[in-house]
């Protein structure tokens, strides 16, 4: 496998004074190219951390001044779903790091499969996230301007035929429209290219379809879990709020509290939303890596892109490692 790749790649190179097929003309050696890329990606990741730090600053500030709001609001977050997502992301980090190893050894097929598993995990993460978001929207929890929770509030019955038939949140159905379109598109693309006899591109499209199926796996599993705990969950919401509305000592506070919980959720939506956007961007980069793995591009002196995207993916994981305890594990 490795030897065959290398021969194929070396045969490719023309009479340029350079060595590998992928080395840009302004670099002397593959190592110089690799190190430049590495410095570049580390600098980019530094800016990413700084980008998120604004939200962490908002979080610190509000938690420092209003710890009680965070305690109340985190009643609405499910540790099990958050924990499951943490483990999905950690697993995707493992497969990503393993894919880097495979690329370094020139094992293109293994690298491709591991990258595909990483892509599926990314979609699975978003599927579970979609269940969490849609459940909050069912409870009418939005950002501060629209949030007005009270103990008598009954979540509106989900409307729409699918929701009624399956007992799933209508918001989740709405959120799943784009993934469903993508899934069918990728599937059709895979069959069309297979019909044309283009094996690499058809495998690429089928891979993307497998990735999107990860979203539905996460959404269905998450919704099943959500339904199973639904009654217990509702009880918890009520229990969390009765003392707030009836505590005589906090009459003044009760006026401002419901809106103030919205502050937590504004921060929550911004932090997890920005993180989810990074996961989606990661899926796009990973798809590119998957395509190049199918083209057998990786060799011991050329695996930079896998390494760089891997570093980005680990930073996405790093941010979630902090978001999980900060948002879900408040007591």
């Amino acid at each position: 496998m490795t030897a065959a790749d290398l021969t194929a790649a070396t045969d490719d190179h023309h009479d340029e004074h350079h060595h590998g097929p992928f080395i840009a003309h302004h670099f002397d050696t593959p190592m110089q190219q690799f190190d430049s890329g590495k410095l570049g990606i580390w600098l980019f990741l530094t800016t990413e951390i700084l980008f998120f730090s604004g939200l962490f600053c908002a979080y610190t500030l509000y938690r420092y001044h209003h710890p009680e709001i965070f305690v109340d609001a985190s009643e609405f977050l499910d540790k099990i779903l958050g924990g499951a997502n943490t483990i999905v992301l950690l697993f995707s980090s493992l497969t990503m790091a393993w894919a880097v190893r495979a690329a370094q050894l020139g094992q293109n097929k293994l690298a491709g499969r591991l990258i595909l598993v990483t892509m599926v995990c990314a979609a699975l993460f978003l599927g579970i996230k979609a269940v969490e978001y849609s459940h909050k929207w069912d409870l009418n929890i939005w950002v501060i301007s629209k949030y007005n929770f009270n103990a008598d509030f009954v979540p509106p019955a989900p409307e729409g035929a699918v929701a009624r038939a399956l007992g799933i949140s209508q918001w989740l159905v709405n959120l799943s429209i784009i993934p469903a379109i993508l899934f069918s598109g990728f599937l059709i693309g895979g069959f069309v290219y297979r019909g044309m006899g283009n094996k690499v591109v058809s495998s690429f499209f089928f891979g993307l379809a497998i990735m999107m199926s990860g979203y539905f796996l996460g959404a269905i599993a998450g919704q099943m879990y959500q339904n199973s705990i639904h009654e217990h969950h509702d009880a918890a919401h009520t229990a969390a709020h009765i003392p707030l509305d009836h505590g005589p000592a906090q009459a003044a506070d009760a006026v401002t509290r419901p809106q103030a919980i919205g502050i937590f959720f504004s921060i929550y939506y911004c932090m997890t939303g920005l993180h989810a956007i990074h996961v989606m961007a990661g899926m796009a980069f990973l798809s590119w890596l998957y395509y190049r793995s199918l083209r057998l591009h990786w060799r011991p002196d050329y695996f930079g892109p896998v390494d760089y995207v891997g570093l980005y993916w680990h930073v996405v994981d790093l941010i979630w490692i902090y978001l999980f305890p900060l948002l879900y594990l408040i007591k």
């Binding site: 060595h19 590998g20 050696t29 593959p30 190592m31 690799f34 190190d35 590495k38 410095l39 580390w42 600098l43 530094t46 951390i49 700084l50 730090s53 962490f56 600053c57 610190t60 500030l61 420092y64 001044h65 710890p67 009680e68 305690v71 540790k79 924990g83 943490t86 483990i87 950690l90 697993f91 980090s93 493992l94 990503m96 790091a97 393993w98 880097v100 190893r101 370094q104 050894l105 906090q250 003044a252 506070d253 006026v255 401002t256 060799r299 011991p300 002196d301 390494d307 891997g310 570093l311 680990h314 994981d317 790093l318 490692i321 999980f324 305890p325 900060l326 594990l329 408040i330 007591k331």
Partner: protein, 130 residues
Amino acid sequence: MANHQHSDHHDSESFAHPISVKLLLGVFISLVSLTILTILVNDLSLGQLDIWVALVIATIKASLVCLFFMHMYWEKGVNVVAFFSSLLFITLFIGITLMDTSAYRDSKDAFRNTLDLPVPVVTPPVSSTE
């Protein structure tokens, strides 16, 4: 040319550092264990300590990811310094913001009074949880 290619090959051996699968799996298992630990510790009520324990565990997890998954253990110093410089600036950013945050309390309360709204009682962190 043959010579040149040979030297390339030598280069490639020096910059690809494949990590053993065993190490990768070991790091993953530690990360999952730490995740379960942090959820379990959260169920014990440690009061004010909760957040610090959670953050320490998160930092251990982050270090494992950085050191091994991100190859920082074998990384060049300049890249590590570049990356961790972000922490310095975050510390400054959050620290200075926190120092400044009470500075506007008087004018904020004055503004609130003009709106004729009840001034919220600033409750100490623990009392309002019950």
